[in-house]
Symmetry: C2
Subunit: 333 residues, 2 copies
C-alpha cells in the first residue's frame, strides 16, 4: 500500500508537510500543495482518514441536527454551513431527530463526531445536557435552550417592533398571529416580542386570533383557514416564519382572498422564495447565510480550543422589516 512517506519522497517534502498539504492547510504554499497533490495522484495515494482520526483523536466531521430536512428553511442553512465547514476543512453530516431523543444521542456519539450544530432544539430537549455531560462541543443555531453554549441567533424584537409599527400606521386593529411551538426558544421569543410590540400600539392578540404549530407550510395553511372561517376576519396575519407565511398565502389564494387588498401577510427570515414575484412577501430579514456561517465557525473554534476553551459566545444578528407587496393598508370593514 502506498503511504504518505512514499508521497513525501516523490514530492521531496517531509511527511508532515504531505499531511498538511493534503488537508489544504494554510501553512503550506500553493506551489508545494500542487507538487504534493501531483505526487499523491501519480502514486494513487489515498489519505486514510481513519488513521488520521486515530492519530489526532479528531474526525474533522461535525453533525447538523434538524427535525425536518424537507422544510424549505434548511437548504439555505445547509448550503451556507457546508461552504463554511469546507473552508475550515470539516465535513457536514446530517442527522434528523426521531421522536425518541435517546436514540439521537446514541447515534451522534457512535458516529464519532467532533461536535454538533443544534438547529431545532426544543427548550425541553435532554440532548444539550447529554452533550455537555459527555464533553461533546456543540453550538446552537437559531434556537437555544437553558444549557449554556455558544450560539448564533437573531434579535427578533427589533424586526417585530417594526412590523407592529407598520401595521398600526396602516390602520390594522384586528391582527392575527401564527406562532411557533411554545417549547422552542424561537417560538417563545417571537411570540413575546410581537405581543409586546403590538400592545405598545394598543393592539391586542385575543386567543381566537392566534394559531400555533410547527414552523411549516401546513401550520400556515391551517392557521389562515381558521382565521378566514371567523365571523370577522383579521386584516393582517403575522407569521412565525416565511415557510409558515407561504402556507398562509396558499390558503388565502385557495379561498379567493386577495393579498394584500383583503388581508396582509408578514413573514420572518427573508428566504429566497419570499422574493419570488408570486409571493413578494413583506418579511423580517436578517443575514441567514452569515448566521449559518457563524454557527459553523463558532463550533470549529470551540472544538479547536479544546481544554483552553473560554467563555461562551453569542452572536446575535440584527433584523429589519423588508417591505414588499403583502403588507398594505387595512381594508375598511
Amino acid at each position: 500500500m502506498v503511504t504518505s512517506h512514499d508521497v513525501a519522497r516523490l514530492a521531496g517534502v517531509s511527511q508532515p508537510t504531505v499531511s498538511r498539504a493534503l488537508r489544504d492547510s494554510p501553512n503550506v504554499s500553493a506551489e508545494t500543495k500542487e507538487r504534493v497533490r501531483r505526487a499523491a495522484r501519480s502514486l494513487g495515494y489515498v489519505v486514510s482518514e481513519s488513521g488520521r482520526a486515530l492519530a489526532s483523536g479528531r474526525t474533522r466531521r461535525v453533525g447538523l441536527l434538524v427535525t425536518d430536512l424537507e422544510n424549505q428553511f434548511y437548504p439555505y442553512v445547509i448550503a451556507a454551513m457546508h461552504r463554511q465547514l469546507e473552508a475550515l476543512d470539516h465535513q457536514l453530516i446530517l442527522h434528523t431527530e426521531d421522536r425518541d431523543g435517546e436514540d439521537v444521542t446514541e447515534r451522534l456519539f457512535s458516529h464519532g463526531l467532533d461536535g454538533v450544530l443544534l438547529a431545532t432544539t426544543t427548550s425541553d430537549s435532554a440532548l444539550p445536557v447529554r452533550l455537555r455531560d459527555r464533553g461533546v462541543p456543540f453550538v446552537y443555531f437559531n434556537r437555544t435552550s437553558a444549557v449554556e453554549a455558544d450560539s448564533a441567533t437573531v434579535d427578533a424584537a427589533a424586526g417585530l417592533g417594526e412590523v407592529a409599527e407598520a401595521l398600526a400606521h396602516r390602520g390594522h386593529r384586528r391582527v392575527a398571529a401564527i406562532f411557533g411551538p411554545r417549547n422552542t426558544s424561537t417560538g417563545e421569543e417571537r411570540e413575546e416580542a410581537l405581543r409586546e410590540a403590538l400592545e405598545h400600539h394598543g393592539i391586542g392578540l385575543p386567543r381566537a386570533l392566534t394559531h400555533r404549530g410547527p414552523f411549516d407550510v401546513e401550520t400556515g395553511h391551517a392557521g389562515m383557514r381558521r382565521f378566514l372561517a371567523l365571523p370577522q376576519c383579521p386584516t393582517a396575519v403575522v407569521c412565525s416564519n416565511d415557510v409558515v407565511a407561504i402556507g398562509a398565502v396558499n390558503a388565502a389564494h385557495e379561498a379567493g382572498l386577495a393579498i394584500p387588498e383583503q388581508v396582509s401577510v408578514v413573514g420572518f427570515d427573508d428566504l429566497p422564495p419570499a422574493r419570488w414575484p408570486v409571493f413578494a412577501l413583506t418579511t423580517v430579514a436578517y443575514d441567514l447565510t452569515a448566521m449559518a456561517q457563524a454557527a459553523a465557525r463558532l463550533l470549529i473554534e470551540r472544538i479547536e480550543a479544546g481544554d483552553r476553551a473560554g467563555s461562551y459566545r453569542h452572536e446575535v444578528f440584527p433584523t429589519r422589516l423588508v417591505h414588499r407587496r403583502t403588507l398594505a393598508a387595512a381594508p375598511a370593514r
Copy 2:
C-alpha cells in the same frame, strides 16, 4: 477508557455481538440489542468509529455529490436518501462540485467514503472515470454518463408524450420550451423526448421558442421573459423541471400575464411546491422519494457485494402527467 470488551462483559455477550448490536445489525435480537445498549450507556461507552473503520476497511459513510445545495430540488432528495441510508446504518456526507473537477475527486477520496451518489454529473465529467479507475463504488441518481454504473433515473419520454398530447388537444400550436444544459443526460433526454413527441403532433420547436440553462429558478425566469418579449408570444411553455417552471411563473406574474388564460406552463418532477395552490402546476410526476431511496439502496448493495458484484442495475421510474391549473386551452390569438 471503556472498551467494547467491558460492555460485552456487563451485557453477558461476546465482543462481536456488542459491535453488531451497536451497529443495529439485523442478526442480533431486539432484546440483546437493548441489553447491550443499556450496558454501553451505563458505562458511558462510545463506539470508536475510526477503530471500526480501520478494522473493517469500511467507514459506513457515503457521499452525495450535487452542484447547488440551494436548489429547491434537493431538500426532498436529501431527506429521502438520508432516511434510507440511516435505515441501512450509513451516514450521508454532502459534497458540492467546484468549477475544478479535479478538486472534488481528491476531496472525495481523502474523506474515506465507501461510495458516492452522483446527482448532478455532466456527461463530460471526468469524475465517473476516476471513480471507476480507483474502484470506488458509485451510483447515478437522476442523471447518467457514458461510464457504466448502477442508476436510478426516470423514463421522461412517457410523461413528455402525455404533455405533447395534452398541448395538441388543447389547440396549442405555438409552444416554447426551456431546456436543461446540453451536457447533462437529463437535459438531453428531455429535449429529445419533447421534440419527438411534439413533432408527432405536427408541432415544431423553432430556435426562437427555445431557451436553455441550468435547472434553476433564474433560467425559468429568463426564458419566460425572452418569450414574452417576442412579437408573437407562445401559448404554452414546457419547462425542464418544476424549479425552472416556478421561475417561468414568476416572470409571467411580474409581467401581469395570467396563467393559464394567456399562457400555459408545464413542469417536471412534481415537487411539493408544485402542489401549492399559488402554483397548482401541471407537471410530469414520478416517485422522487422512491427513486432517491433506490439510489441509496443500490449503492449500499454495490458496496456490500464487493468483489462479488454482478451486472449493473438500472432502475427506471415511470412518469405520468398530473393535471393541475397551469395547462388550459390555447388562447385565441
